[in-house]
């Protein structure tokens, strides 16, 4: 029988995958995709808890998270386009002008 714990474990695994992607990959677009994986893992947690508690609030929070994710994707990709125009590269290691 599938319980709340199963969903929480799946969510933790997905979140760990997303975190690993942010740290390991050297490509700005893949890093943004990893952030989307993490946001979706959290969404799964919200929906599973909402189901367990019999409340609709979890689904409403997911609605807001998706809105924020859309805004983040739009601004993030605009920044990626600007950076690529500047350096002809997507490697985050090549953007070190602000490093002290």
């Amino acid at each position: 029988m599938v319980t709340l714990n199963h969903y929480l474990v799946l969510s933790a695994i997905l979140f760990a995958i997303g975190t690993a992607g942010v740290f390991v990959r050297r490509n700005l677009i893949t890093i943004l995709l990893s952030i989307e994986i993490m946001l979706n893992a959290v969404n799964l947690t919200f929906v599973a808890f909402g189901r367990a508690l019999g409340a609709a609030d979890g689904q409403i929070i997911v609605f807001f998270v998706m809105t924020v994710a859309a805004a983040e994707a739009a601004v993030g990709l605009a920044i990626v386009i600007g950076l690529f125009r500047h350096r002809e590269s997507l490697n985050p290691d090549s953007f070190t002008s602000l490093k002290w």
Binding site: L14, I29, G50, M66, V68
Partner: protein, 168 residues
């Protein structure tokens, strides 16, 4: 069991997103992962979330990503991990990461076995109608909803300003 099928698809697709060198394949695999998550939302009696997951996430946000990947026509990642200079390959960092990974695995096993306390079985009462969600969204959550519209407006203007060429 449908849960295990969807969970396996989501985890494998997410792993491949991380493993792919070509960003286009990463984006397409992430769409597959979102499809599996949408199936999980259906299993959780949340059809509204499942539908907007497909429409908004897979349909709008991922297409935006795909558009940017194709627009930039970026070169593939040059080197995966340059072990001499990469700070992630510092011995202390590797040891800390291994410790954290072991801790995570122990916690996951503990949560799935009897040690995790009450099993968290789902009760029968689930709120799944779009009617109830919409009613809650426009009464109790009306203020966050309106703030969201401002957020979208700011993001829209910001994206246009950032991506614009300074000297056309």
């Amino acid at each position: 069991m449908l849960f295990y099928l969807f969970a396996a698809v989501a985890v494998v697709a997410s792993l491949l997103v991380i493993a792919q060198r070509n960003p286009i394949y990463s984006v397409l695999l992430l769409i597959a992962s979102f499809g599996a998550l949408s199936g999980l939302y259906v299993l959780l009696d949340a059809p509204f979330v499942a539908v907007i997951q497909i429409i908004v996430y897979a349909g709008a946000i991922m297409v935006l990503f795909l558009f940017v990947v194709m627009l930039l026509n970026a070169p593939h990642e040059e080197t995966e991990l340059d072990e001499r200079v990469h700070p992630m390959m510092h011995p202390g960092a590797v040891r800390l990461g291994a410790a954290l990974a072991v801790a995570l695995v122990v916690e996951l096993v503990w949560a799935l076995t009897e040690g995790g306390g009450e099993s968290g079985a789902f009760n029968s009462g689930a709120v799944s109608s779009v009617n109830a969600i919409g009613r809650l969204l426009f009464t109790e959550y009306a203020f966050p909803f309106e703030v969201t519209s401002i957020l979208i407006l700011v993001a829209m203007v910001g994206a246009v300003v950032i991506a614009r060429r300074e000297h056309p």
